[in-house]
């Protein structure tokens, strides 16, 4: 009976890989064991069939190119400088654009002396404030609206007050404007004398960061990016 171990020994015998002791032993067995000799013959046929297969030629060259192996051409020293400068200029440009779009400088037109209220120096209502002026306007505005409501002061005065000045002032003003005094309570001549409330004219004035700066940054970024691209193209051309 031929076992796996015998097949391995026969295969090694075919390849001349047996030690002298194993070689003598297998050769003596082969002369007496026909089954073993038959297996050896089978192994030899298989081996010879493979060995006589024609060698196959490569259908094309498999040489590697620099781009295939992912090698990059050596760049000139100025390349990273231009690249970095273009990136920085682009980021600055984006920053300036963001600043100009998010924080526009708004001015209220002629009807906006109210803008001055916020600084506590507004004429009329606040007057000369003797107390810390940061707190004064809201308190004074609250008092002013109450007084106005009580004494039926013309609403035009209230409308000129900035709604966004302080929350309390805004609320008071809102209340005052939402609940105007009944029309029949006012004398006729007063009604006709009330001027139309002036709507504050909001005007966008010049951007925080001048457009000329942005144009300069844009130009600088483009020049640097162009120079970096040119250097890279030249380096690649030389490399290939």
């Amino acid at each position: 009976m031929i076992g796996t171990r015998d097949v391995e020994v026969l295969s090694s015998y075919l390849d001349g890989q047996l030690s002298s002791g194993d070689l003598a032993q297998i050769e003596s067995r082969l002369t007496s064991d026909a089954e073993l000799a038959s297996v050896l013959k089978d192994l030899r046929i298989a081996r010879n069939a493979l060995k006589r297969l024609p060698a196959s030629k490569a259908p094309r060259n498999f040489i590697l190119t620099r781009s295939k192996v992912g090698e990059r051409p050596p760049m000139p020293r100025a390349y990273p400088v231009f690249r970095f400068a273009s990136v920085v200029a682009t980021l600055l440009l984006a920053f300036t654009a963001a600043v100009n779009s998010i924080i526009p400088r708004v001015s209220f037109g002629a009807a906006a002396p109210a803008a001055e209220y916020g600084f506590g120096g507004g004429p009329g209502i606040g007057g000369d404030c003797g107390d810390p002026c940061g707190l004064a306007p809201s308190l004074q505005m609250g008092a002013a609206t109450e007084a106005a409501a009580e004494s039926e002061v013309s609403p035009s005065l209230l409308l000129t007050a900035p709604a966004a000045l302080t929350p309390s002032a805004g609320q008071d003003i809102a209340r005052a404007t939402e609940a105007p005094p009944p029309a029949e309570a006012l004398p006729k001549e007063e009604l006709t004398a009330i001027p139309e409330p002036e709507v504050p004219q909001v005007q966008l004035v010049e951007s925080v960061i001048p457009g000329s700066w942005q144009l300069g940054l844009l130009g600088f970024a483009l020049v640097c990016a162009g120079a970096a691209l040119y250097l890279r193209r030249v380096a690649k051309h030389k490399w290939s």
């Binding site: 796996t4 097949v7 391995e8 026969l10 295969s11 090694s12 015998y13 075919l14 390849d15 001349g16 890989q17 297996v39 013959k41 089978d42 192994l43 030899r44 046929i45 298989a46 081996r47 010879n48 069939a49 493979l50 060995k51 006589r52 297969l53 024609p54 060698a55 196959s56 030629k57 490569a58 259908p59 094309r60 060259n61 498999f62 040489i63 590697l64 620099r66 295939k68 192996v69 090698e71």
Partner: protein
């Protein structure tokens, strides 16, 4: 060709030196891949991938047989290709010939052979390839390295990263299975295959 110095230069990143080695070994690498994967296009892909991988991992090569190193790379590339093919089986766009066989490869066109001999050689080659493809891939790679590429046992052990005993065992079993398969194509086997080297190791 001064192989060791070319290998050292390639390890330093010299692509030209590596390409000299590629030109020297490309037939062997492609032939190995073709016998393992059994498809010319897949074999070419595997060979290209093997050379690319060899260049990238050459820094890990610590001397020894460069041929074994290359054979290990190509067998690994073949395993990857076979796994990929198993995951995404494809249908070839080129139609087979009428009898279901692919056109004979150009390298089989021997001007000294008659048309009948050429046809028989093609049939025999297909029969052997068919039997090879019936082997498990671990057996196939061992028998291809030993009997087609002529590597010795220690080189196969290095290329396949397996102990010498495993190489011997797999090679013996692969040969026996091949013989069983080739019985079905007995009439194709020339008598020289059966008689050649009888009684000689």
């Amino acid at each position: 060709m001064d192989e060791p110095s070319l290998v050292r230069a390639a390890q330093r990143g010299d692509l030209d030196s590596f390409n000299t080695l590629v030109l020297y070994y490309q037939d062997m690498v492609y032939g190995t891949a073709l016998r393992i994967v059994g498809d010319p296009d897949l074999a070419a892909d595997a060979a290209q991938e093997a050379f690319l991988s060899a260049f990238r991992t050459l820094v890990t090569f610590r001397g020894g047989s460069f041929k074994s190193f290359l054979m290990r790379t190509v067998t690994n590339a073949c395993y990857d290709e076979l796994r990929r093919r198993k995951r995404r089986p494809t249908t070839p766009l080129e139609p087979d010939t009428e009898d279901g066989e692919m056109d004979s490869p150009g390298w089989l066109a021997d001007p000294n052979m008659s048309p009948e001999e050429t046809a028989e050689a093609v049939e025999l080659e297909h029969a052997i390839q068919h039997c090879l493809e019936n082997l498990p891939v671990e057996f196939r790679s061992v028998v291809v390295l030993a009997d087609i590429q002529g590597l010795d046992y220690s080189e196969i052990a290095s290329a396949a990263r397996m102990p010498l005993g495993t190489v011997k065992s797999r090679l013996a079993r692969a040969r026996l299975r091949l013989r069983e398969c080739l019985r079905a194509f007995e009439e194709l086997l020339p008598s020289i295959f059966r008689l050649e080297g009888e009684g000689v190791a």
